[in-house]
Amino acid sequence: MESQVDTSKIVQFAKLEDVLALGRAYSLWPLTFGLACCAIEMMAVGMARWDLARFGAEVFRPSPRQADLMIVAGTVNKKMAPAIKLLYDQMLEPKWVIALGNCAISGGPFVYPGQYAVVEGVDQLFPVDVYVPGCPPRPEALIEGILKLEEKMTGKRRFPVAKLQE
C-alpha cells in the first residue's frame, strides 16, 4: 500500500472530482456492523428521532462490498481484530472509517496496564477518518461525525456550526 503512487497528484479533474465528492458525501452507505454498546446508539441514529436518512446515509448494507463507510462501534478485541481487518479489506475503494466511541479510539475504559484482550484503538489496524468520542457517544455526536466526514470529502460544511455567544 505504501509504495503506491498517489495518482491524484499526477492527474487531476478538478471540477469532476468536486462533483464526485459531492455524490459520495451525500450517499454514504454504512456497513451493518455493531460491536458493543455504541452499536445501540448507532442504531438509534437510524431511528425516527435522529433519522440518518436525511443525509442519505440510512442504507445500512450488510455486505462489505456495497458499503462505503465502516462505523467501528464498540470495543475491538484481539480475537475480533483479524475479522474486522478482513471486513475493511473487503470494502471497495473509496472507503471511510469512523471510530465511534472511546473503545474504538483508544480502548477506552478497558485499557489498564497488563490488559490482555483489547486492541488499543482501531487505528492500529487501519486508517481512521473521523473519531467520535464518548462512552457511548450520543446520537448527535455520530451525526456530527458524519457531517465532519462529509466536510472532509467536499471541503464544505453542510450546516453552519453553532457558536457560543459571548
Binding site: G34, I40, M47, R49, P62, M80, L87, Y112, P136, R138
Partner: protein, 379 residues
C-alpha cells in the same frame, strides 16, 4: 467466505452419502446481533450442527474487577449488558451491600425498582424490534425505539447517561429523583398501554409472524434446567422461574405482579412472555410510584470500603434472565474475585442442541427469540 465442500461422508447405515457444507455466520452478520459467530454445518438448508463461537467481544470484566476498588468497578457493570444496565449495577451493588452489611434507605430501594423496571421495558423494546427485523419486518424496530427514547430521556434526567447509567451506589443512589422524573414516569405509564395494544394488533396478531414463531425452536423445561437457561426462555417453557418472585430482593415482595408463563416451549411463547412482561413491569412501576416514601437516598457507607473475607452472591432478574454476581473478598479494599454469571451465556449454550435439524430460516428466528446481547455472553 470461500465455498469449500467437505468430502462426502456416508450417512448412517445404508443411506446415500450426504454432502454437507459449513456456513460461517459472522462474526459480522445481520442476525448475529453484534459479533456472534455460528459455524453451521448444513445439509442444503437443513442444519446438522450449529456451533456458536463466542469471545469476539471478550472485554475481561472479571479481570478488571480484581485490580480496582469496589467502587471503581461500578462503571463496568453497566457495560456488560448495556441494554439492561440498571439490573447489572443492582446485582453488583447488592452483593457488596450484602457483604459489607450496608443498609439501603427505603426511598432508594423504591427508585431502584422503578428504574429497573423501566430499564426492563426499554430492553424488551429493543429485543422486540431486533427480533422483528430478524424476521424481515423493519418498521417495528423504529416504533420500538420511539417508545424507548421516552425512557432514555427519563434516565438522562436522573443520571446523565442514555445507555450506561451507573446510577446505583453502595448504600443508595448517586442522585435523588426529581419531580420531573416522577411526572415523566407517570406520563409514560399513560402512554405505554395504548402502544402495547397497537403492537398487539399490528404485529403479534400478524399471521406471518405467528407462522414464523409458532412451533419453532422448541426448548423443553428439562433442557432449560440442564443448561441453566433462565428469563423469558425458561418462562416460555412453562416454568414460573423469576428471581423477583422465587428469590425476592430489594422491595419486590411489596408489589403485586404476575409472572407470565407459557407452556408451549416455542419461539412464540418466548415472544408472548416478553410482551406480557412489559405490562407487568408497568404494573410494578405504578405501584412503586404510589408507594414511594420520602427520605434520603443514601445510607451510611464507610469511606474506605472493606468487605469481611468470604464470598457473597446476589442475583437479580435482569431483562434476559438470572444475573448473579459472586464476589470473593479477602478483606482488602479491592475484590479478590468477581464472577459474573450472565443469562445470555447460559441461554445461548443450549442453542447447539436445540437447533439441530432445523431449517436455516427457523434457526435464525429462534436465535432472535433467545434475546441475546453478545457482550453479555463474552463479558
Amino acid at each position: 467466505m470461500i465455498a469449500q465442500k467437505e468430502a462426502p461422508s456416508a450417512g448412517p447405515s445404508g443411506e446415500a452419502p450426504q454432502e454437507t457444507f459449513v456456513l460461517n455466520l459472522g462474526p459480522q452478520h445481520p442476525a448475529g446481533h453484534g459479533v456472534l459467530r455460528v459455524l453451521m454445518t448444513m445439509d442444503g438448508e437443513w442444519i446438522t450442527k450449529a456451533e456458536p463461537v463466542i469471545g469476539y467481544i471478550h472485554r475481561m470484566h472479571e479481570k478488571m474487577g480484581e485490580n480496582r476498588t469496589w467502587a471503581k468497578f461500578l462503571p463496568n457493570t453497566s457495560r456488560i449488558d448495556y441494554l439492561s444496565a440498571m439490573h447489572y449495577t443492582h446485582a453488583f451493588v447488592g452483593a457488596v451491600e450484602r457483604g459489607a452489611g450496608i443498609e439501603v434507605p427505603p426511598r432508594a430501594e423504591y427508585v431502584r425498582v422503578i428504574t429497573s423496571e423501566l430499564n426492563r421495558i426499554a430492553s424488551h423494546m429493543v429485543w422486540w424490534g431486533a427480533l422483528l427485523s430478524d424476521l424481515g419486518g423493519l418498521t417495528p424496530f423504529l416504533y420500538a425505539f420511539d417508545d424507548r427514547e421516552l425512557i432514555l430521556d427519563l434516565f438522562e434526567g436522573i443520571c446523565g447517561a442514555r445507555l450506561t447509567y451507573c446510577y446505583y451506589r453502595f448504600g443508595g443512589l448517586c442522585n435523588d429523583v426529581d419531580d420531573d422524573f416522577l411526572r415523566g414516569a407517570r406520563a409514560f405509564l399513560k402512554h405505554m398501554p395504548p402502544r402495547l395494544k397497537l403492537y398487539r394488533d399490528l404485529v403479534t396478531n400478524n399471521i406471518i409472524l405467528r407462522k414464523r414463531l409458532t412451533g419453532i425452536g422448541l426448548i423443553s423445561a428439562e433442557m432449560c434446567r440442564k443448561y441453566g437457561a433462565t428469563g423469558p426462555v425458561i418462562r416460555g417453557s412453562g416454568v414460573a422461574y423469576d428471581v423477583r418472585k422465587v428469590e425476592p430482593y430489594s422491595v419486590y415482595p411489596k408489589f403485586d405482579f404476575k409472572i407470565p408463563v407459557y407452556p408451549e416451549c416455542d419461539s412464540m411463547a418466548r415472544y408472548l412472555v416478553h410482551m406480557d412482561e412489559m405490562e407487568q413491569s408497568l404494573r410494578i412501576i405504578e405501584q412503586a410510584l404510589d408507594q414511594i416514601p420520602a427520605g434520603p437516598v443514601m445510607g451510611k457507607v464507610p469511606r474506605v470500603l472493606r468487605l469481611p473475607p468470604g464470598d457473597y452472591c446476589y442475583a437479580v432478574e435482569a431483562a434476559r434472565g438470572r444475573f448473579m454476581v459472586r464476589i470473593v473478598s479477602d478483606g482488602k479494599d479491592i475484590p479478590y474475585r468477581v464472577k459474573l454469571r450472565t443469562p445470555s451465556f447460559s441461554n445461548l449454550s443450549l442453542y447447539e442442541e436445540a437447533s439441530r435439524g432445523m431449517i436455516l430460516t427457523d434457526a435464525l428466528a429462534m436465535l432472535g427469540s433467545l434475546d441475546l446481547v453478545i457482550p453479555d455472553i463474552d463479558r
